[in-house]
Amino acid sequence: MRAKPQPYVSTTNACKLCKPLGACLAFRGMEGAVPFLHGSQGCATYMRRYVISHFREPMDIASSSLGEKHAVYGGGPNLKLGLKNVMAKYQPGLIGIATTCLTETIGDDVPMLVKEFVRDFPEVIQEHGSPALVSVSTPSYSGTHMEGFHAAVAAAVAQLAAQGLPHDGIALFPGFVSPADTRYLKEILADFELQATVLPDISLTLDAPALVEYETLPSGGTPIPAIRALGGSRAAIEFGRTLEGQSSAGKVLHDRFSTPLHALGMPIGLRETDAFFSVLEALSGRGTPVNHELERGRLIDAYVDGHKYLFGARAVVYGEEDLVTGLTAFLAEIGVRPVLCASGGRSGRLAEAIRDVTQDLLPEPPLVREGVDFYDIAEEAEALEPEILIGNSKGYHLARKWGVPIIRVGFPIHDRFGGHRTLHLGYRGAQSLLDRIVNARLEAKQEASPVGYSYI
C-alpha cells in the first residue's frame, strides 16, 4: 500500500521500532534459538540494549559485523563465518537470521547464502547438533517491528513445518505479547486440556527465574520439533485484527496444509476474550473451565464497580496496531472514551479494526491515526483534552506536559519496573488493566484535591 501523504516530512519521536527488532524478539521465543542479524554490528547492539532494558533479561543477538569492504563485495563470507561461530559457542537449536537495511540495500541473497552454507559445511552443522536455520527479510525501510515479528514467525513456520501426520494439537500465534501474557495463555490452554503449540513463547526466555547456574541460552521457547509438527495441527488460532491481508504464520499453515484458521482480535477486554474462549470451547469440545468462568464473573463485577470512576474519561491509546485495537475494545467496554487511537504502524486496517470493536459501544468512533509519531499524536490530542494516556513509556513526556496519568502497557517500558510482567490479555489481564486505570484516576484526583481525602 502506498502511504497516504503525511503532514510532516520527518518522523519526530517515532511510535514504532525497526523491523529486525521484531524478528529478534520472535526468534527469542523459539527453543534454543539465537537471533542473528546480517548487517552492521551496531544493529545488534542497539536492539539488544533496547530489548534488555525492557525485559531486564539477557538477550544475545549475533551479528555478521559487516564493514565497508563487505558492503561493497557482499556479506556472504561474514555470514557463514558468523554462523559457524554461533554454532560453536551455543550449540543452538535454531539460528534465526534476519536481514538489516545494509544487507537489503546491497542485495545479499540470504536464502541462497544459507543454502550454500548447508551445502558446503554439512560436517560443521552436524557436529553442532544440526540447528535449524531460518532466514527472514527485514529491511527497516519497509514496515515496523511488528511486520518483522510476524515475518519471523511466518518464516519459521514456512521453513520448518512439514506435511506430517495429522495430530490433535492446535497452533496459537499470539503475536507480540508479554511473557506474563504468554504464561497465562498456556495456563488457559492447559485448563481446556488442549494440546497446543504457542509460537513464539517468550514466557521463560525473556522472564527467567534466578538459577543456580547461568544458562548461555535460556531454557524455554517453543520446541523446534513442535514447530516442525505444526503442519499436522488440526486448527490454528492467530491474534491480530490488522493482520488481515498480510502474510502471517496462520495463513502459511492454512495455505500450505489447509489448517483451519481462527483469526481473532488480540483478546483484551471482555468481548475479545469471549471470542477467544468460544473458539477454545469449540476446539476442546468442553465448556469454559470454572476458574475462568469465575474470573470472567469477577471482571464483570469490577466493570460495574469501577464504572463511576471511568465513565466518559477521554483516553489516548497508542502503540502497535493490534495492541491498540484490543485496548480500545476494552476501554470502550469500561466506559472510557477513546478519543485518539494512534500507531506508527501502517497496515491500512487500523480504522476498520477499531470500528469493528467499538461500533456498538461508542456513540461516535474515535479518531484513528496510522503511521503517526508522537509529534503528530501531540498535535491531534491537544484539542481532544485527554484525561488519560495508555501506551508505552515513549508517551510519558506528553502525559507530563498535559498533567494526566499514563498507564504503561506494551513495549518498550523503560521508566518503570516489571514492564515485561504486564498482563494485558484475557479476563485476568482486563482485570489488572482495569484496576490500574481506576487507581490512576483516583490517584490523580486525590493528588489534585486541595483537601486530600483518603476515603474516596
Partner: protein, 551 residues
C-alpha cells in the same frame, strides 16, 4: 550462605594462572578465531622501563561473536553530538537508528533560561521508506531540514547518515551546504554510516572532524576569566559535568566549553578562545584537542575527574599549567575543604570492601578511570578492557608512531590542519613549554590503562559475552562493570553488576561528591544481602575457589 568474597577464599589453594584462564577463554572457538583473539587477551606485565605488552585493539569484531561494541553512527550521533541540547539532530535513514539513540544515554543538560532550547528530548528521523532507498533520499532530507527550521528555528541543524545512505549514494554534504546557504543558519552533515569503522570509535573521530570543521572558531568573543579551559571527552552522564562545574567554579576556573556534556552550540563556537584543553576521555575526543592545538595554539593535557585523588591531582595539574600562585593556593583550599568528607566516607567503606575484586569492561576510558575509585576503597581490578579503544589507550601514547594503519582506519578522514593565519596564538612560548616539561609537567600525554594495572591481571579488548561468562566463573569477582547489555547476564550469575555507561539510575560519580556517591553505591552493591539468595556454582564447590596470580 555467604557471598563469595576475597575473605572466603582459602589461602592455601593453588593460584589461578592467568595463562590458563586465557587458554580457557580461547578453548571453544575455531583456531583462526582463537589466533586473533589471543592478541586481544593479554596478561599484563610491567617492564623496568614501564613498558607493557602489546595488545590487539581497534580491529574488526569477529562475526558471530556477541560484542559489546556499537557502530559508527552510535559513536557520532549518540555519544559525541547527543549531549548538545540546541542543535537539531536529524538521523537520515530508516527509523531504528534514530529511535535507539533517542535519549538513551542519560546525558543530562541544563537549558539556559529563559529562551533555553533543549532538543535532546526529540528524535528526528527522515524515516526512509523503500521508495527513498530506490530513488534516493536527498529530496526528503532537504525537506526535513526545511521543516526542522520552520518548526524550531534552531541555531544549527546536523544530519547523521545511517548505513543505507552511503550505499545508495545520497550526497548529504551537498544537501546541507545548499540548505545552509538557503536558511542562513549552520547546517552540516556527518558521513557516519554504521558499517564504516570497527566500532563507535570511528564515529567519534568523524564527529570530532565535523565539530572542528563546522563550529569551532565561529565566535571570537573573548569571555571574562583569568583561567579559561575546555573540558573534552566529558558527557555528563548522571550529572558528572555539574559536579565538575561546581568544583571548577569554586577554584575560579572558567569553563569555556565542554565537549559535550551539558553543552551548547555557542560553547563549541567559542571554544578556541580557551587557554587550555583538558581531556577526560582520550579515545573519543583527542582529535579535536590535537587540531585546536595546531590551528589555535592551545595545549592539551590529560586529566581525570573520576576518583577523589584523581580529581585533586587534576586540579593541581591545571593550576600548575597556569603557573599562578593565586590559583595554586585556591585549588589547595578547595581540595582541603572537599577531602575530609571524602576521607570519612571512604575509610568507613574501605573496611567493608578491602581486597574485593572488580572487573571493568567498558568504553574507551571508563574501564581505566574507574579503577581509581575502586582502588580508593581498597578494591582490586583483576581484569579490565575497553570496548572500542585503540592501542594508545591501553599502552600509552608512545606507541602512536608504531600503530598500523589498516583499511578501516584509512576510511576515516584525517583533516589537514594548519595554524590559523590570524588567530594562532601559542598559549605558552616554546621556552615555557620546554621549561615546564623539564620540571615534569606533561603535555599531550596519556600513559594508558595497562601501566596502572597490576602484573598478572588480564587485559581483554572487545570482550565477548562468552568470555564474560567464563571470567565470572573463574574469578568470581565481587563486582563486574559494563553496560546494560551485560547487566542481567552478570546478575544471573550471582554477581553484582554496575553500569558504567548509564550509571544505572545513579550518579554523579565524578569529582569529590561523585566519589562519595560511588563508594556508597559500590558498598551497597557488593555488601548487599540480596546476593545470598542466589547460589552460584562455586559456592557449592569451594574447591573452585582460588587465589590470584597478581596477589
Amino acid at each position: 550462605m555467604k557471598v563469595v568474597s576475597k575473605e572466603t577464599i582459602s589461602p592455601e589453594v593453588e593460584p589461578i594462572d592467568p595463562a590458563a584462564v586465557k587458554q580457557e577463554l580461547l578453548r571453544k572457538v575455531p583456531t583462526k578465531v582463537a589466533r586473533k583473539r589471543a592478541k586481544q587477551i593479554v596478561i599484563n606485565s610491567l617492564a623496568e622501563n614501564q613498558d607493557v605488552p602489546e595488545i590487539g585493539a581497534n580491529t574488526r569484531t569477529i562475526p558471530g561473536i556477541i560484542t559489546q561494541r556499537g557502530c559508527t553512527y552510535a559513536g557520532c550521533k549518540g555519544v559525541v553530538l547527543g549531549p548538545t541540547r540546541d542543535i537539531v539532530n536529524i538521523t537520515h535513514g530508516p527509523i531504528g537508528c534514530g529511535f535507539y539513540s533517542w535519549l538513551t544515554r542519560r546525558n543530562q543538560t541544563r537549558a539556559q533560561e529563559p529562551a533555553g532550547e533543549n532538543f535532546m528530548t526529540y528524535c528526528f528521523s527522515t524515516d526512509m521508506q523503500e521508495e527513498d532507498i530506490v530513488f534516493g533520499g536527498e529530496k526528503k532530507l532537504r525537506a526535513a531540514i526545511q521543516e526542522a527550521y520552520d518548526l524550531f528555528k534552531p541555531k544549527a541543524i546536523s544530519v547523521f547518515s545511517t548505513c543505507p545512505v552511503g550505499l545508495i549514494g545520497d550526497d548529504v554534504h551537498s544537501v546541507t551546504r545548499e540548505m545552509k546557504e538557503q536558511l542562513g543558519i549552520n547546517v552540516f552533515a556527518f558521513s557516519c554510516e554504521g558499517y564504516k569503522g570497527v566500532s563507535q570509535s570511528a564515529g567519534h573521530h568523524i564527529a570530532n572532524n565535523g565539530l572542528f570543521t563546522h563550529i569551532v572558531g565561529l565566535d571570537d568573543t573573548v569571555q571574562e576569566g583569568k583561567y579559561k579551559i575546555n573540558l573534552l571527552g566529558e558527557y555528563n552522564i548522571g550529572g558528572d559535568a555539574f559536579e565538575i562545574d561546581r568544583i571548577l567554579k569554586d577554584c575560579g576556573i572558567t569553563l569555556v566549553a565542554t565537549f559535550s556534556g551539558n553543552s551548547s552550540y555557542d560553547q563549541f563556537a567559542n571554544s578556541h578562545t580557551a587557554d587550555l584543553n583538558t581531556i577526560m576521555c582520550h579515545r573519543s575526543i583527542n582529535y579535536v584537542a590535537e587540531m585546536m592545538e595546531t590551528k589555535f595554539g592551545i595545549p592539551w593535557i590529560k586529566i581525570n575527574f573520576i576518583g577523589a585523588e584523581a580529581s585533586a591531582k587534576t586540579l593541581r595539574k591545571i593550576a600548575n599549567y597556569f603557573e599562578d600562585p593565586e590559583l595554586i593556593e585556591r585549588v589547595e583550599e578547595v581540595i582541603a575543604r572537599e577531602m575530609p568528607e571524602v576521607i570519612k566516607v571512604r575509610d568507613e567503606i574501605r573496611a567493608r570492601c578491602q581486597g574485593k575484586l572488580a572487573m571493568l569492561f567498558v568504553g574507551g576510558s571508563r574501564a581505566h578511570h574507574y579503577q581509581e575509585l575502586f582502588a580508593e576503597i581498597g578494591m582490586k581490578t583483576i581484569s579490565a578492557g575497553y570496548e572500542f579503544a585503540h592501542r594508545d589507550d591501553y599502552e600509552g601514547r608512545h606507541v602512536l608512531p608504531n600503530l598500523k594503519v589498516d583499511a578501516d582506519s584509512r576510511n576515516i578522514e584525517e583533516l589537514e590542519v594548519h595554524p590559523d593565519p590570524e588567530r594562532y596564538r601559542p598559549r605558552k612560548s616554546a621556552e615555557d613549554l620546554a621549561r615546564m616539561q623539564e620540571n615534569g609537567f606533561r603535555f599531550k600525554d596519556y600513559d594508558g590503562m595497562m601501566r596502572e594495572m597490576a602484573a598478572g591481571t588480564l587485559v581483554i579488548d572487545d570482550i565477548s559475552q562468552y568470555e564474560t561468562e567464563r571470567l565470572l566463573e573463574i574469578y568470581k569477582p565481587a563486582i563486574f562493570c559494563a553496560g546494560i547489555k551485560e547487566k542481567f547476564a552478570v546478575q544471573k550469575s550471582g554477581i553484582p553488576m554496575k553500569q558504567l555507561h548509564s550509571y544505572d539510575s545513579g550518579g554523579p560519580y565524578a569529582g569529590f561528591k561523585g566519589a562519595i556517591n560511588f563508594y556508597r553505591e559500590i558498598d551497597r552493591m557488593v555488601n548487599s544481602q540480596i546476593w545470598t539468595y542466589l547460589k552460584a556454582p562455586w559456592q557449592e564447590n569451594p574447591e573452585l575457589a582460588a587465589k590470584y596470580a597478581c596477589d
